[in-house]
Symmetry: C2
Subunit: 323 residues, 2 copies
C-alpha cells in the first residue's frame, strides 16, 4: 500500500532532492543512486545531496560523480520533493536536513523498524533487507526497466546490508531480488572484490599484530581487544580496521560477544567501545548502560576512563546478561 503511495508521490512531483544517512555506505549509496536513475528514466529533475564525501571503497559505483556534497550552493536548489532513503529519522541525513523543505513533499523510503515516520509519504518496510531491496520493488511497481548499472547499484546495497546474504535480515525475497538483478550480467565476484578486498597492506599487517592480542574471558563467551594510543593514529584514517577485527573476533568458536576498546578515542581520557553480539546478548542494552546505543547485535559507546577500567565495567555488564 505504502509502495503504491510512494510511486504515486514520484509520479506527482517533478523535481527531487535525494539524500541518505551520514556515514554513507553501500545501501545508502546504492538506493539513492538507483532512485536517481528511476527519476531520470521518468524524465524528472533530480539531484543527490549528501553530507559526506564518497568513501574510497565505493568510487567504483556507477554514477557516483552525480552526488553533490552539501554546501551553501546546494541549499539554493529548487525542488518539489525531498526524498530520503535508508534514514530512520530526518536527522539521520545530517546537515542536509538544513535544506529548506517547507511546503515540499517529504518522501521517506526506509527499512529500519525504528523509523519515526517523519515523511508526508512514508514507505517503511522492516522486512526488507535494505533500502535497495525496496527501490528494486519501486522499479517493478512503476514498470521501469532496469539496466546493468542500476542492477549493480541495487546489488551492492543488498550485498553490503546483508553481509553477503548471511545476516538474519536476508529473506526469500532478498534472494528473489538478487536473482532478478543477476539477470543483467553483473560481475558478482568483481563487485565483492571492489567492496571488500580493499585493506591497505600496512593495515593488514597491523590487523595481524592487533589480533595476536585478543583476550577471552573464563566463560569462553566474550572476546575482547584493548588497543592503546599507538593504534589511535591509524584506525580512523584511510581505512577503518575495527569492522575486520570485530568480525574476526566473532568468528572464534563459542564467542557470543566481541568487544573492541580503543583508548584515546575520540579524544584523550576517553575510550571508544564497539560491541558485536551473535544475538544471545542484546549489546544495545549494554551500550545503553554507558549512554551509547545501536542494535541488538551491533552497538557502541564512549566511556571516560582508562582502557583497563572500561574493560572491567563493560565486561561486567555483559556477564550480567550471559547468566
Amino acid at each position: 500500500m505504502s509502495l503504491k503511495r510512494a510511486a504515486e508521490c514520484i509520479r506527482r512531483n517533478n523535481s527531487f532532492v535525494i539524500t541518505a544517512h551520514t556515514s554513507v555506505e553501500g545501501d545508502a549509496l546504492g538506493s539513492e543512486l538507483a532512485l536517481y536513475k528511476l527519476l531520470k528514466r521518468l524524465g524528472k529533475q533530480a539531484v543527490i545531496i549528501n553530507e559526506d564525501a564518497l568513501p574510497a571503497e565505493y568510487v567504483f559505483l556507477p554514477g557516483v560523480q552525480k552526488i553533490k556534497i552539501f554546501n551553501n550552493a546546494t541549499k539554493a536548489i529548487k525542488f518539489d520533493c525531498f526524498a530520503l532513503v535508508d534514514c530512520s529519522d530526518l536527522s539521520r541525513c545530517g546537515k542536509v536536513s538544513g535544506i529548506d523543505f517547507r511546503s515540499k513533499t517529504v518522501l521517506n523510503i526506509d527499512h529500519h523498524i525504528s523509523n519515526s515516520r517523519f515523511g508526508d509519504v512514508n514507505w517503511v518496510d522492516p522486512l526488507a533487507s535494505s533500502a535497495s531491496e525496496m527501490v528494486y520493488r519501486l522499479f517493478k511497481e512503476m514498470r521501469i526497466p532496469l539496466d546493468k548499472d542500476t542492477a549493480e547499484l541495487l546489488y551492492v546495497g543488498i550485498l553490503t546490508d546483508t553481509g553477503s546474504f548471511h545476516y538474519s535480515n536476508t529473506t526469500s525475497n532478498t534472494h528473489k531480488v538478487a536473482a532478478g538483478l543477476l539477470k543483467y550480467g553483473i560481475d558478482v565476484a568483481g563487485i565483492y572484490r571492489e567492496a571488500y578486498s580493499n585493506v591497505p597492506f600496512s593495515q593488514m599487517k597491523r590487523l595481524g599484530k592487533a589480533l595476536s592480542g585478543i583476550r577471552r574471558d573464563s566463560s569462553g563467551k566474550i572476546a575482547w581487544l584493548s588497543l592503546k594510543n599507538d593504534f589511535a593514529g591509524l584506525k580512523a584514517k584511510a581505512f577503518d580496521l575495527s569492522e575486520y577485527l570485530l568480525s574476526l573476533m566473532r568468528s572464534i568458536k563459542g564467542i557470543e560477544v566481541a568487544v573492541l576498546f580503543r583508548e584515546g578515542l575520540p579524544q584523550k581520557g576517553k575510550v571508544r567501545v564497539n560491541l558485536r553480539s551473535q544475538g544471545l546478548v542484546d549489546v544495545n542494552k549494554v551500550a545503553a548502560c554507558f549512554f551509547g546505543g545501536g542494535h541488538r547485535t551491533a552497538s557502541g559507546c564512549t566511556i571516560a576512563a582508562k582502557n583497563k577500567e572500561a574493560v572491567s565495567r563493560v565486561l561486567s555488564k555483559i556477564r550480567e546478561r550471559l547468566r
Copy 2:
C-alpha cells in the same frame, strides 16, 4: 535432458549406495544427505558411505548420523545403483571406489567442468554453482516436496561452494534456488555461524601472529606468507588456518595472487605451496610448473626445497604471468 535421465535412473532402481569426494565439505555433505532424503521419500533403500569421518564444523547438519565410514562391513552392502555426487571422477570418492559396483548402475551427478563422465548415467552441469543446486532441481523435477532439514542441507552446500554467494559461480538461478530454500524457514545467520564461526581461540591468536609476517612484492600484486616448522604442528590438526590466511591476503588492496608457503609439509625437506588468484593470473598453470594443480583461482603444489628457494621459484613463475 540429463536431469530427466537421472530422475529415471532413480525411479528404476531400488537400492542405492551414495557417496561424495574425499576431504568432504559442505556441498559434498549437503548434496549426498539431501539425495538420501529424496530416495527415502520414494521408499527406496539407501546408504551413504564416505571415506572420511565427518569434519567437526559439519556435525550440525541434520542426518549426519546416517553417514557410514568405508570399511570391510560396508563393502558387503547389497545395492543396485552407485550414486556419486560432486565427484569429477570415480577416483575422487577415494577408497569407496573399491566397492563392488560391477553389474550395478553408476549415477554421476556433478557440476565440475572437468567431469570425466564416468557413469552409466551422467548428469553434469558446469553452470550449476554446486551439486546441491542440482539436487534441488532433482526434487523439483521429481515433484518431491522439500522439508526444512533438506532445505538446510541444500542451503549449506550452496553457501559453502559459492563463498556465501560471492564467487563467480553464483548465478541468477543460484539465488532463485536460495529463495526457494529460505521459504522453509531455515536460520541463515545461525547456519553461517555454524559453518564459519568455528576458529579455536588459540588459532585466532596464531592467525594474528602469522598475518603480521605477510610480505608483498614490489609490483604490489603478489602477497605471500612463509611459515616455518614451528607452525607446522598446528595447521593440519583440529583447524586449518590456511584458508583464513589466504582469504585475508586476498583482501589486501591491489593483490592479484596470494601464496602460502609451509616448510616441512607434508614432510621435512618439502614445502607445501597454496596459491589463490583474483582471476587475472591462472594459478593452476603456476602450480603445474611444480607438478601441482587445481583451478584457475585456487591451486597447490609441493616443492622439495627450503622456504626461501620455494618462494623465489614460485614468485618468479607468477611474475612471468603478471607481465
